[in-house]
Amino acid sequence: MDIAKIDQIIEKHRGKAGDLIHVLMEIQHENHWLPRDVLHQIAAALDIPFSRVLRIATLYKTFSLTPKGRNEVHVCTGISCHLRGANKLLDAVERATGIKPGETDANRRFSLETGSCLGSCSLGPEIIVNGTHHARMTPAKVEDVLKEYQ
């Protein structure tokens, strides 16, 4: 965890209560998770109640209060992907990674999320790993795709 970087981000928004979501986003992006004492630090710097910081941090799936894996696997479960078989794809991904959506495996290799609609419905069903699209997936292709990600 790059403490200096985090401090820098928080300083940029000192005193600006309305920037809470921006601060959390930047730190999540930088650090891949939000440690509790960082949340306290944010509350103090932005002069807002800690409970609000916690509330917003738990409200959104984007923010993680526990460390995430090295590879973030996202299975699109939008309606179009759903109609094209996303459920079966998700089952295959769960089997291959050993975790369920919202979880991270013990070796911190994978974090799994589902969610809707990333706007590329013609590619469905798809999984996105670390921002890379794997389009028109089938359960059979899952092992090969995930193998590349250590």
Partner: protein, 562 residues
């Protein structure tokens, strides 16, 4: 670049840009829209740029990386202008051949469109069935614009409407024109934009805000992103014109955090517009000041609801406010705030430059203009489609969409995502019209049209939408949080073969109260998909419930695909 200080300066600049461009010079437009990007169009674009670069400054053709062309199913898409030759499913290996053929004014036959049944080929954009039946007033420019270059937008006439509004019309005049055009909101509400503008304009207080709702959260809807990412200036121009009409000097663009390309394009557009004097202080020397800031959500559907969105801009949890005081009167920080969807704003420049009468000549009595539709699901040609209001759904699904994938029969089409409804295939001649579709129980919503084939389980579809909404509900009010929880339980049990007697009555009761008592539109419309199911597909529900004792539910949607 000195900031433009008059309408004449803008026209002079435009003339300069056009005269420096050779309209006969071939331009290879490579689509970098979301789907094409996911199919690796970046490598195709790089290959083109490298190969053309090798030919030196007198190459005789250029490459342009553009936003979404629309035919997402067949990406990566490439269009050769000025002829409008369309190449589909282009790979990096195809690049040298395309370049060679383009220079010789020949066509690469194997990459053009071929009808899946007849094999009949269509080379030009005006002949390809997918494009032929559309009226691409908004998205048509995407193939001609590199979103990172404002000059491309100027070359197709951009910001001419803004100049006309600022110098030839009064704010009231602009407002009247938009009212006369009967532009209705494209985000889902269908509310007359002109009236909303007027409410904000007349609300007490001198600080007024205008907002672009670019938080496209409806599953299956991707046209706002296609339009905004591909042509950010068109939306921006509409926003500035609207701000002028309302008397607002501060605008907000609210978008999704997980669309980095969109955010990059928006920020570039804002910077370039500012540089050219089309945004910021003293726009085009008119004395009108207007600045814009960008905010984004963090991943919750309810942030798309206008009052929740405004809370989010204020840095608060996105909980919708009861609408007894309209946000156009008291919105962000309790100031009059006019919020409109991306597509709504994008319609404004053409209304100003070509007039309300022209605009009102397109569409139906109650629904004017064209509508962007995200066509997806069990359809052959998925993508972004633009058609005049009033177009029969059959035309969209069959003529443009190419019919049902896998040669199956259509069962239903669904509009409006989790806040809309399904209508059976027998009603497919219904027109694309706000009021007509609302009457049928499938309101247009944002314009996501989902096509469902004969194997679709309609109980599962309703269950799906409810599951989506229970995950996205803010959880504040009882009828939404609890009503949806209980409805989801009943539907899940039915799909698992555990339906019980009295389930339909339970569902109807829950639906009734959820629809009547919820705090915001998310909750109030949560019951709509199920309502449409019980209206048109009740027998299917009763059958699945009856199967309860046998322990075998219906086939879940999607199990037909491997």
């Amino acid at each position: 670049m000195t900031r433009l200080q008059s309408a004449a300066a803008l026209e002079q600049l435009r003339a300069g840009i056009l005269s420096s461009r050779d309209p006969a010079k071939p331009c290879i437009a490579v689509c970098a829209g979301a789907a094409c990007h996911g199919l690796d169009s970046a490598r195709v674009a790089n290959a083109f740029q490298t190969e053309v670069g090798k030919l030196g400054p007198d190459a005789g053709l250029e490459v342009r990386v553009t936003g979404c062309h629309g035919y997402c199913e067949k990406g990566p898409n490439v269009v050769i202008d000025p002829e409008g030759i369309c190449y589909f499913e282009v790979k990096p290996e195809d690049v040298p051949e395309i370049i060679a053929c383009t220079l010789k004014k020949e066509v690469v036959e194997r990459l053009v469109y071929a009808h899946p049944d007849t094999g009949e080929k269509a080379i030009y954009i005006g002949e390809v069935p997918f494009y032929k039946h559309q009226m691409r007033l908004l998205i048509g420019d995407n193939t001609r614009i590199d979103p990172m270059r404002i000059d491309d937008y100027l070359a197709v006439g951009g910001y001419g409407a803004l100049a006309k509004a600022l110098f030839q019309m009064t704010p009231d005049g602009v407002l009247e024109e938009v009212k006369k055009a009967n532009l209705r909101g494209r985000g889902g509400g269908g509310f007359p934009a002109g009236l909303k503008w007027e409410t904000a304009k007349n609300a007490p207080g001198k600080d007024k805000y205008v907002i672009v709702n670019a938080h496209e959260g409806e599953p299956g809807a991707f046209m706002d992103r296609a339009l905004f990412t591909g042509n950010p200036h068109k939306v921006l121009e509409g926003l500035i014109i609207g701000a002028y009409a309302i008397g607002s000097h501060r605008g907000f663009i609210y978008t999704r955090h997980d669309a980095p390309q969109l955010i990059q394009h928006i920020e570039q557009a804002l910077a370039q517009a500012e540089e050219y004097g089309l945004l910021g202080e003293n726009i085009l020397g008119s004395g009108f000041d207007f600045r814009v800031e960008v905010h984004f959500d963090v991943g919750i559907f309810v942030s798309g609801e206008s009052s929740a969105l405004m809370r989010s801009i204020e840095g608060l949890p996105p909980e919708p406010r009861p609408k007894y005081i309209r946000t156009s009167v008291a919105g962000i920080w309790d100031k009059p705030s006019n919020l409109n969807n991306v597509e709504t704003w994008a319609n404004v420049p053409q209304i100003i430059s070509r007039g309300a009468d022209w605009y009102a000549g397109i569409g139906t009595e109650g629904s004017k203009g064209t509508k962007l539709v995200s066509l997806s699901g069990n359809v052959v040609n998925s993508g972004v489609v633009e058609v005049p209001m009033g177009t029969p759904l059959r035309k969209i699904v069959y003529d443009i969409g190419g019919g049902i994938a896998g040669g199956k029969a259509a069962k239903a089409v669904h509009f409006g995502g989790p806040m809309g409804g399904s209508i059976p295939a027998s009603l497919i001649d219904a027109p694309l019209d706000f009021d007509e579709l609302a009457k049928l129980g499938a309101p247009i919503g944002a314009g996501g049209l989902l096509v469902m084939d004969e194997d679709t389980d309609m109980v599962d579809v309703a269950r799906y939408f409810l599951e989506f909404l229970t995950n996205e509900s803010c959880g504040k009010c009882v009828p939404c949080r609890e009503g949806m929880r209980q409805t989801l339980k009943v539907l899940t049990n039915i799909t698992k073969g555990k339906g019980r007697e009295g389930d339909i009555a339970r569902l109807e009761d829950l639906n009734d109260v959820t629809g009547a008592a919820c705090l915001c539109a998310l909750g109030r419309t949560a019951s709509d998909p199920l309502k449409s199911m019980l209206r048109y597909f009740k027998v299917e529900y009763e059958t699945q419930i009856a199967r309860g004792s046998e322990g075998k539910g219906g086939k879940a949607a999607g199990s037909a695909a491997t």
